[in-house]
Amino acid sequence: MPVRQLPENVVNRIAAGEVIERPASAVKELVENAIDAGATRVEVVISGGGRELIRVSDNGSGMNSEDLALCVERHATSKLDSEDLLNISTLGFRGEALPSIGAAARLSIVSRARGSDAAHEVRVEGGEKSTIRPAALSEGTRVEVRDLFYATPARLKFLKSEQAETAAVIDVIRRLALARPDVAFTIAANERVIQYPLRGTDEAGRAARLADVIGGDAHANTVPVDAAREGVRVRGLAGLPTFSKANSLSQYLFVNGRPVRDKVLMGAMRGGYADLLHSGRYPVAALFIELDPREVDVNVHPAKAEVRFRDPSLVRGLVVRALQDALSGGARRSATTGADRLVSFARPQSAPGYSSGWRGSSAPYRGGLAEAAQAAFETIAQPSADARANLAPVLQADLERPLGAARAQLHETYIVAQTVDGLVIVDQHAAHERIVYEKLKRALNENGISTQILLVPAVVELDDSDVAALVARAGELAKLGLVLEPFGQGAVLVRETPALLGETDAQNLVRDLAEHIAEWDDALPLERNLLAIASRISCHGSIRAGRRLKPEEMNALLREMERTENAGQCNHGRPTYVELKLFDIEKLFGRR
């Protein structure tokens, strides 16, 4: 077959496949265009999961008739004025989105340039552009995409259910909405309308938008993150570990305002939460990375979902540190969900035995003897935990501390403490376990790790790239007690393993590590392995539930919790205490 230049509409269709994968990608491109046009209000309507119709209206700058004619041409953009691909501050920069959509769907754009008194329309169908016609529109731009992928039926087959596509569209808008609290969004999908009202760009505004997007609890269950190093800044909100989710959908990551799903950042996120969450739980967080656009390449992925940092380890380190700092605010906060849930459970009970109660309805006792005897046994059969409270003297100074003064131990498991404006219930076992664990972790970091040298060094066969990655990190691994070196083609030789791991399977350990490094670029599994053992030992030395504590011991435990980082959760991610504010208690009794 002779080599020939592909006709333009075929080229466009190929490009379209890369940029527009599914309805959500079209929505993303259109909303980004609206944001780039300076809109403060964006309205999205979809039907049929976006396959039948996508309509995006904005109140941005609009386009005049010449621009309108040009904007659907390939590589036509107003955003890249110099030829400097490294200095990009808008979301769009390729001039690729509209032509791609035009190649795959029936596209109509109506726009009115700001200050102009006329609006115009252009249509593209199957890559064929119409003439520019006058149209009616009060301001901004309205883009309509109908019958997406009608021209590429193969693509249609890969779409998921209408529901799934709708969810993906909403997810895309959520991410953009998080990035831009100063833009109001309305999404109408089928019968549903979601609205994100205009918010400020300050921390309060961001938090309010996060609450809009994630749900009501978000505000009370997140801590602000803010850190900068060498020109890179990370800001945002990090969910408390007790507020985690079972999937990673609530992780929102942005680089210079652009939503991304970047491996470096996701790895850093895991690092920051490393031993606060057990596997299977994912943090809720919205993190905004800002850095000189020259330090990051956003043009590495057709849908711009991934970026490439010039100095990934700087960014990773910063994010991990920032999260750790934000989350380790000592015992300051645990998720409030506990208290909220309690309040919602504790609706006034309408126990029939009591409702008539002492007011003295003296209904004659009708039950037989056997029944009475049965009832007597039932009371005996109540849980036998020791409910005698252990009373402690109260010091004013303790009352003013975050976790307050211990007042009682109940069921030999829970410490009840009084604070200035509420009360705290501590799970003594979970709390103590956490304290011991943090101590061990510190010791591990400070004292280094002793290693057992192997009598027979273990040869582990791996891919060449894995070998290279492991060897590149040999120094770091050695600090964690794993000493290895390259061993011919496609293998490493393990010479020493952390003594703490005892007799360990070097093969598996190294393979796991290699896999993890390939994906996340850090040595977390090893560290986690070590800490898991430290944690098992700590479980051992922990105060078990069911141990009677003296008042002094209780207060000592509370003070220690206040001093310990991450004291709000036990090693398994469960809360170690719940706080009930007087306000909550008043709610319990219906006084509020």
């Binding site: 057992q452 040298i453 192997l454 027979v456």
Partner: protein, 368 residues
């Protein structure tokens, strides 16, 4: 089947065979012991499919026959029967139950037919020899502690038994330390294949050996081994793997020799280890002319040091070992003194028993 057997006899035999039965079993019949009554004896058999034990006890068979019942339960019952009792075992006519009667106690156990009971087909044994019980015990005792428990390295989960020159040698290693013991090869052992005897089998042989009399008969092929120990016959599969070429890790050129009183050394290691935390406890040894200083530093709780007078004339050396490993090895030393041959803090140390020839230990240091 109907048979009468003395309680003590039955209890002892059940004690031997019930250990082979795993506590948790997915195949019901494997939880059972097979009882087979002859005219003047009862045969008891249990298996976990890798290891099989058959023990014969004297008994008075009224009706010969066989059945199988839950091993742990019948053992518990027989143990609790009064001393000196005569126990009568009788299976119901349909074979679905077994009655255990002694004095006024009567138990009925659910039984399963013998036909379902698995047989560890032993196949042809190619080598056979008799070994003094004391010798076999020594081979096991000296090396058992070093068997690996890491299941991914299954080929280290046993003792490597092989004939070398005119010796029969046992070796075990877990990759951190190695133990080797040998005796003069018994007649018939020469030319036998090197075999890896699984940990569980080793432990059972060790338990049965005291009741075994003077000699144990060993038969083996490339896949199975059988030990006849008194009334008990233990047949086991061998670990199908290649034991590493252990000779390479036994150092030959270690030139720094330390001779130390075994029990003094052990108590000192034990004492200083008190301050170390649970796992991977490292004991540091500092060697200078005629003096050994042991120390443990635990940043969390404190430190400990102890000095010993020793025979040491080489240049000063600091080296760290896992305290538990050191103790494990010192425990094996039969004589009063242990000889350690050292090279440097990163290379294997050889530990020898100055009295028991043929036993040697290799220990890899720790880096602290």
């Amino acid at each position: 089947m109907k048979v009468t057997i003395e309680r003590a006899q039955l209890a002892k035999s059940l004690a031997h065979v019930h250990r082979v039965v795993e506590r948790r079993n997915t195949i019901p019949i494997l939880a059972n012991v097979l009882l087979r009554a002859g005219k003047s004896s009862v045969e008891l058999k249990a298996t976990d499919l890798d290891l099989e034990i058959v023990e014969t006890a004297p008994g008075e068979g009224k009706t010969t026959g066989s059945t199988t019942v839950p091993a742990h339960m019948i053992y518990d019952i027989v143990r609790k029967l009064p001393e000196g009792a005569q126990v009568e075992l009788q299976s119901a006519s349909d074979g679905a139950q077994l009655q255990v009667r002694a004095g006024r106690s009567k138990f009925t156990l659910q039984a399963l037919p013998e036909t379902d009971f698995p047989d560890l087909a032993a196949g042809e044994m190619t080598h056979s020899f008799n070994i003094a019980s004391a010798d076999l015990k020594r081979l096991i005792d000296r090396t058992q502690f070093a068997i690996s428990t890491e299941e991914t390295r299954y080929y280290l989960n046993g003792i490597y038994l092989h004939a070398i020159d005119d010796k029969l040698r046992a070796v075990a290693t877990d990759g951190h330390r190695l133990a080797q013991a040998e005796i003069k090869a018994p007649k018939g052992a020469k030319g036998m294949p090197g075999v890896i005897v699984p940990r569980k089998t080793v432990a059972e042989v060790q338990r049965l050996i005291d009741d075994a009399g003077e000699e144990v008969k060993v038969e083996l092929s490339a896949t199975k081994i059988r030990f006849s120990l008194g009334n008990a016959v233990l047949t086991s599969k061998l670990i199908d793997g290649t034991f590493p070429d252990y000779g390479r890790v036994i150092p030959a050129g270690n030139d720094k020799t330390l001779v130390v009183d075994k029990s003094e050394f052990m108590s000192a290691v034990d004492r200083v280890s008190t301050v170390s935390s649970e796992r991977g406890r490292a004991v540091k040894l500092a060697l200078t002319d005629g003096k050994l200083t042991l120390s443990v530093i635990n940043p969390d709780s404190g430190s400990a040091t102890e000095e010993l007078e020793v025979e040491y004339g080489a240049e000063a050396l600091d080296i760290g070992f896992n305290g538990r490993y050191l103790l494990d090895i010192l425990q094996q030393i039969e004589g009063e003194k242990a000889r350690l041959k050292l090279a440097d803090p990163g290379s294997p140390t050889l530990i020898e028993d100055m009295e028991a020839a043929g036993a040697l230990y290799v220990l890899m240091p720790m880096r602290v």
